[in-house]
Amino acid sequence: MRDALREALHEEMERDDSIIVLGEDVITHGGPYAVTRGLDEKFPGRIRQTPISEAGIVGTALGAALCGMRPVAEVMYVDFATCAMDEVVNQMAKVRYMFGGQTDVPVVLRLPSGSARLLAAQHSQCLEAWFLHVPGLQVVVPSTAYDAKGLMKTALRGKDPVLFMEYKRLYTNECEVPDEDYAIPFGQADVKREGGDVTIVATGPMVPKALEAADLLSPEGIEVEVVDTRTLVPFDKATVFASVEKTNRVIVTDEEVKRGGTSAEIASLIAEECFDALDAPVKRVAAAEVPMPFSPELEKLVVPKTEHLVAAARELVG
């Protein structure tokens, strides 16, 4: 996935002179996960390495976006978005509306997310739910290299702010990525696997786990349909609801803390608008309500697992 993202950046920066990248160590290491490695040689002056100043980085990116640029600002870990919350929530999300539509706000914030490498509580969070809650933002969560490239291209061609959640554990995801130009529109979920018995609506790193669960359940005669949400704002209700109507049983899953997580929003939508199709209550599989512990054994207990999805599906069907 990291190569796919780099390709997307490269190709779009060639097409569009106004795209610039800002962030900590974006030149030296190409960012902590090497996504921007090498871009500085190809686009000198357009990759701007910053001091450690998340609020300053995001605020400056926003100012540039209001004045004709397309900045891509990296906050090294989504956890540090907390240092820039005014810039994201009070400024970026609201400036177009407050100004009566006078300006586009073409900023992409790249936000590495999720558990990885035992980085513990302050480097492992999943914060989509916070940003879902703020009108004016778009929240994008690719689960594959293919989706990442296509969604990044759409982000870089749009006119509205994008919070692009890059799951650290998914950077090594490999799959076929075409050479030709393609872009994936926002608001289009993707049925990654078809099945008639249970729907799993999955986001980010839970997508591969949902597919694993499907493989484990198929020999038992339980066919799982996996719907990858891909973008949380805008959200593709139609695809999700069509699947619920087909299977009548649904699990919503992501790696966020369960309480108040994205799964709560999706589950509510399904309960409100798909009630008649449901043969069982909506189940959620998400992370334990604690900060991420350092110990590898404890981390395994906190992060939702394939086995939890398997168990939930058996309960729904049984």
């Binding site: 400056t60 100012g63 540039a64 209001l66 100004f99 009108p135 778009q138 509205d160």
Partner: protein, 319 residues
């Protein structure tokens, strides 16, 4: 000089009218008046073109008018009408005008500072001579974002001027209680940028200092911290008389001795040979124009219910 006189009168008249309207219950929301501080906005903005950028504060009407904001569209915005700059969706604290480079008043203290740096970055990358000016108060200089932005702007040598309006109070707290320094310009060397302090109520001094700072930015010399010592004659916002944390005598003394408009009037009449009649004529003309602006605002339509949901995204998604 006459231009600057006009601009200060425009601001003073607007603010006094807005204050009266608010107190008679005709304006919704909050109002933070700029009365007494006019010389800073005007002395700086006279050096700026439409293509230059400013960011402003919750106390932004002065900056907006000085930069070229129209009083009729501003008044309409205060009345929450669709003919306002923000179609009634922003209000006093969020007025913006893309056409004249006004990147908005801002309801969060200090939040405009990085936006100006970003605007300056865009100019630098485009290779133009545009500059950005960020206005903020003494209170804002304690916000983290002030420090982050000055540092970043200095490192990247951005064409931005940081204008501090030190009116000696951060809301209801005197400067002596919210920071140990008195002269805010002493913070500039921490970022290795020039820092200058002037009497912010003397429009000619502001003019001269701003000239140097704006020119420095335009010529690639990077940022300046321009500290203007001023005073607000009214409270923090309407509803705050401004006397529970300030000496009434001090306020009156400031109004008597340091009114920027009176001071320029003295210079114009005593040193520049301008007659008082000429100045009165300007005032009368502007008062009449303000009357029309007010009529325009009062007769403008209110937003429709569906307006609550539009202009959120420029792209295709609907809320």
């Amino acid at each position: 000089m006459l231009y600057m006189y006009r601009k200060m009168i425009e601001i003073r008249q607007f603010e006094e009218a807005a204050g009266t309207l608010y107190q008679s219950g005709q304006l919704p929301g909050f109002l933070h008046l700029y009365i007494g501080e006019e010389a800073t906005a005007v002395g700086v903005c006279v050096h700026l073109q439409d293509e230059d950028y400013i960011t402003s504060t919750h106390r932004g009407h002065g900056h907006l008018i000085a930069k070229g904001g129209r009083r009729d569209r501003m008044m309409a915005e205060l009345f929450a009408r669709t003919t306002g700059y923000c179609k009634g969706k922003g209000g006093s604290m969020h007025i913006a005008d893309k056409e004249t480079g006004i990147l908005g008043a801002n309801g969060v203290v200090g939040a405009g500072i990085p936006l100006a740096a970003g605007a300056a970055l865009s100019a630098k990358l485009r290779g133009t001579q545009q500059v950005a000016v960020s206005f903020f108060g003494d209170g804002a200089t304690n916000q983290g974002i002030f420090h982050e932005t000055l540092n970043l702007a200095a490192v990247w040598e951005l064409p931005v001027v940081f204008v501090c309006e030190n009116n000696r109070f951060g809301m209801g707290t005197p400067q002596s209680e919210h920071q140990r320094i008195e002269d805010i310009a002493v913070r500039a060397p921490s970022y290795d940028i020039p820092g200058v302090t002037v009497d912010g109520n003397d429009v000619l001094k502001v003019y001269a200092a701003a000239d140097e700072a704006v020119t420095r930015a335009r010529e690639g010399g990077g940022p300046t911290l321009l500290n203007c010592d001023t005073y607000r004659f009214r409270g923090h916002h309407i509803g705050d008389p401004g006397t529970s944390y300030r000496d009434r005598e001090e306020v009156q003394e400031q109004e008597r001795q340091r009114d920027p408009i009176r001071r320029l009037t003295e210079v114009l009449t005593e040193e520049e040979g301008v007659s008082e009649d000429e100045l009165s004529a300007i005032e009368a003309e502007l008062a009449k124009e303000l009357e029309s602006a007010l009529e325009f605002a009062k007769n403008s339509p209110e937003p429709l219910p569906e307006d609550a949901l539009n202009d959120l995204y420029a792209g295709s998604i609907q809320p």
